[in-house]
Amino acid sequence: MQSFNQIVSATEPEQDYNFGYLDEQTKRMIRRAILKGVALPGYQVAFGGREMPMPYGWGTGGIMLSASILGQDDVFKVIDQGADDTTNAVSIRQFFAKVCHLETTTETAKASVIQTRHRIPEQPLRNDQILVFQVPIPEPLRFIEPRETETKKMHSLGEYGSMQVKLYEDIVKYGYIATSYAYPVMVHGRYLMDPSPIPKFDNPKMHQSNALMLFGAGREKRIYCIPPYTDVASLDFEDHPFSIQQWQAPCSLCGSETSFLDEVLIDDQGQRMFVCSDTDYCQGQLAKNAAEEALHG
């Protein structure tokens, strides 16, 4: 009987790296951590993170997750700040193209696994898609409590009232809840979770999401998950309810009024424009506009 590794090596055209770069034992260990994370939505599972061929902060947590779940048939997309064409996004895509020999894409709809930093795609995800987040600091309570032993206890006992203090201080300083990214959420009414540095604009997309969401922190060696169709609630006050960012004007390129916009400086005179941060979505809208124009015009 053939061993699993023999099967793998038989399907592997190039022998320099194992499929997905990580060795099979590591991938198993990470998958077990994912399973545990799925079973305990929002709970931070410790795992034995490996050294990756890139520095911490470049998305090693997300890469380890992707490496552990990608298969030969997957179509892989990487988002960095909403864009598919930044250095980091291109590098990670190429990395997996090389170690997995799989198809990559920039189209949200075509992808089965999307690794992301800072954004959730504008286009609603399906339940056959998985979103992998790169997380710098997984502990939402770190702001209020520097001791790991104490934050662990707070999680285990569900003592989250003091997290409200962060929001209270915001209102004191700015008159409203000014926290605009990494906005803390309660997952499934049980665990407080840092959604990674996505804008709070994307928080509502996590609630009852169709897609499985996996979060990986490489430096801190933590994995946590939101299974599909899970309640995710952003913290707030009765008299200062949670709200998302809004813009005065639509996207200067595609005219979308519902997407998250980036401010872009366009010349040395300080001229600026607001455009969709999700480049794939923006291009999709442009194409749609063009098609409609062709139809009606």
Partner: protein
Amino acid sequence: MDNLAQALPAQFNDPAEAPLLRAEGLSKLYAPGKGFEPVNLNLFPGEVLAIVGESGSGKTTLLKTLSGRLEPQQGEVIYQGNSQMPAASLYQISEAARRQLMRADFGIVHQHPMDGLRPRISAGGNIGERLMEVGARNYADIRRQALNWLTAVEIGADRIDDLPITFSGGMQQRLQIARNLVTHPKLVFMDEPTGGLDVSVQARLLDLIRNLVTELNLAVVIVTHDLAVARLLAHRIMVMKQGQVVETGLTDRVLDDPQHAYTQLLVSSVLQQ
């Protein structure tokens, strides 16, 4: 969650004569003479108990054990909030239940105020945190209560958004007390609360504590090495030496008619005014 709308509650009128806190055969010894040997005590609502003795006599260790923060080697600490509530043995209930009880019913005032405050959080946030911990989610209401308590401890309302690290020691200590009392605890543990303060500031704080005890019917366990503080605040006193309770009783009786050689030494060593 409980309605926490009132900042200063009406006087508790529970006439039940049951002790709020009982310690039975309680002991915690790190080494012979370090920690404390079996202690029994009862504490009633509205009562102030002072634990006095010199450094290393086990006062603080006893206070920690009584307040649910240090597991004893032997014995029990039994807390009963009121006659309708079941009595809870602090170290036999689950940690979650114990912490819940400590949040809701206990206050802990540390000797160094910054040990009990969050340095990077505004004064209002420091007070409000306790409310938010027990479920308050209305910003305006939290702020109003924080303001009431700042006033109650004589800190200017205009300091509500300032960080405690910008406060004087006496103000920090009063802020710590406000933070502890905002949730209307029944029992407050204080470890040398006037320890590092100027004499003039001490007097204000003693006055404040005494008024709060009367108005809120608080029970207080106060650890101090200052016999004058004990005399002015405490109904009863417990004298400790090398981990043992050598004498206990009515404060003025123990101080004016000490029976034990050590208490006599302690009392006679105080400088007279």
